[in-house]
Symmetry: C2
């Protein structure tokens, strides 16, 4: 099983390689990747050897070749349709975030139980807001596998049950509550408190 | 230098231990911590031995003793005053997030350049919104060391310069842009795309 920290670093390498390729750079060394990302160069070489031989000794890595391989390893060499449940402040900030679309993530629909939001289009990409009764139909029609959960904590369990019934495979959960998923659905928790703890540690350990 | 992945896990252990202590649980095994967190039990034991001997053979870890030690290691055994620059959708979602306050993070002020927001109070904790001209004064008066950056990418560089002049020590940056900080300020980047990539990998590698 590949550690989550390695997957996170691959995601960072992919983003950097995207930028390098956009700037027309064809070859990059692990030292240069280290400089840009702030990650340790030996760690970068170890990560990339884990999946195969991508570098050329004395030359470095071919940017688009390495990027395409990383995309294949991560499974992001294709488009993904997602839905978001809870079209509040956080939901709308995610819906408007340009980087998601440019990385192949399309949030095709938002869901909410607030009557004043249902039937409207929100966010920078005019995403339609549906009632939860439409969940199964939208998931099926758009082959949605991943849902983002940005409802209040009290609503999260009931929404998860509906997502399981709609055969969604993964939920990225922002609501501060421990969920009890069935075995057919994967949950990942995002808590920004961790980012604050990391910064405090950086400052305190000076 | 302690790897960032270890610090992230310590933050997760701290959160779990807080919940266990709230539920009146006094002792916990690495196996139980593994069950709750989804992290590998051997990795947990390795993390905790790195900083000292906290467990008792055959018994486990004393919850409050371990939690207090982790808080000390991370530097979160005290209150931290923060500011946020950019009181838009993402800024307001962060300002209203209850977990920050309960973990000792007080966002004392928001800053924005939108005249309709300046002079108002926003978010669940009625945080005052100031113009950027008040930055230095607020940072000094409240001993602020960390700022959260949730402005559009185009404004990030100019705001960073102002934060450096105000002697802020760390910036948690959400704007999708590479910053060029002076040597006196630490930057951490948060990009939710990484969370999406991690979920795609989980689903694809089934
Ligand atoms: N994990 C993190 O780091 C983090 C950061 C900020 C906020 N949050 C959490 O994200 C969630 C959203 O925060 P916010 O600031 O956007 O809140 P918000 O109140 O602005 O938005 C919540 C939305 O969910 C909708 N909703 C409520 N019950 C629902 C239901 N049963 N089904 C569908 N929609 C429902 C509401 O109508 C509203 O539109 C909260 O749980 C908050 O604690 C997490
Ligand atoms: N990293 C991530 O995962 C992630 C996710 C969502 C959004 N974002 C980013 O976060 C930022 C905020 O997103 P949002 O949806 O809240 O946008 P928004 O437009 O709702 O909010 C931006 C706020 O910044 C203010 N602002 C603009 N220029 C300013 C300046 N010079 N000084 C102070 N304030 C200024 C605006 O008045 C507004 O209130 C954007 O850069 C967006 O790309 C990042």
């Amino acid at each position: 099983k590949i550690p989550e920290a390695t997957i996170k670093r691959l995601s960072i390498y992919n983003r950097i390689l995207n930028e390098l390729s956009r700037d027309g750079i064809e070859v990059v060394s692990s030292a240069r990747l280290s400089e840009i990302s702030g990650l340790n160069a030996a760690q970068i070489r170890k990560d990339l050897t884990y999946f195969g031989e991508f570098g050329v000794r004395g030359v470095g890595y071919f940017v688009t070749h390495l990027r395409d391989n990383i995309k294949k390893i991560l499974g992001i060499n294709r488009q993904w349709n997602l839905i978001i449940i809870g079209a509040g402040k956080l939901g709308q900030a995610i819906l408007s975030y340009g980087n998601l679309k440019s990385q192949g993530y399309n949030i095709v629909a938002a869901f909410d139980n607030d009557p004043s939001k249902i039937g409207t289009k929100i966010g920078a990409y005019n995403t339609p807001v549906y009632p939860l009764t439409k969940l199964k139909e939208i998931v099926r029609k758009n082959t949605v596998k991943i849902a983002i959960l940005t409802t209040p904590a009290v609503a999260a369990h009931e929404v998860l049950t509906m997502l399981e019934e709609a055969n969604v495979e993964g939920v990225i959960n922002f609501a501060p509550v421990k969920l009890n998923p069935s075995k057919n659905i994967k949950i990942s928790y995002v808590d920004l408190v961790t980012e604050f703890d990391k910064m405090v540690f950086k400052i305190s350990s000076e």
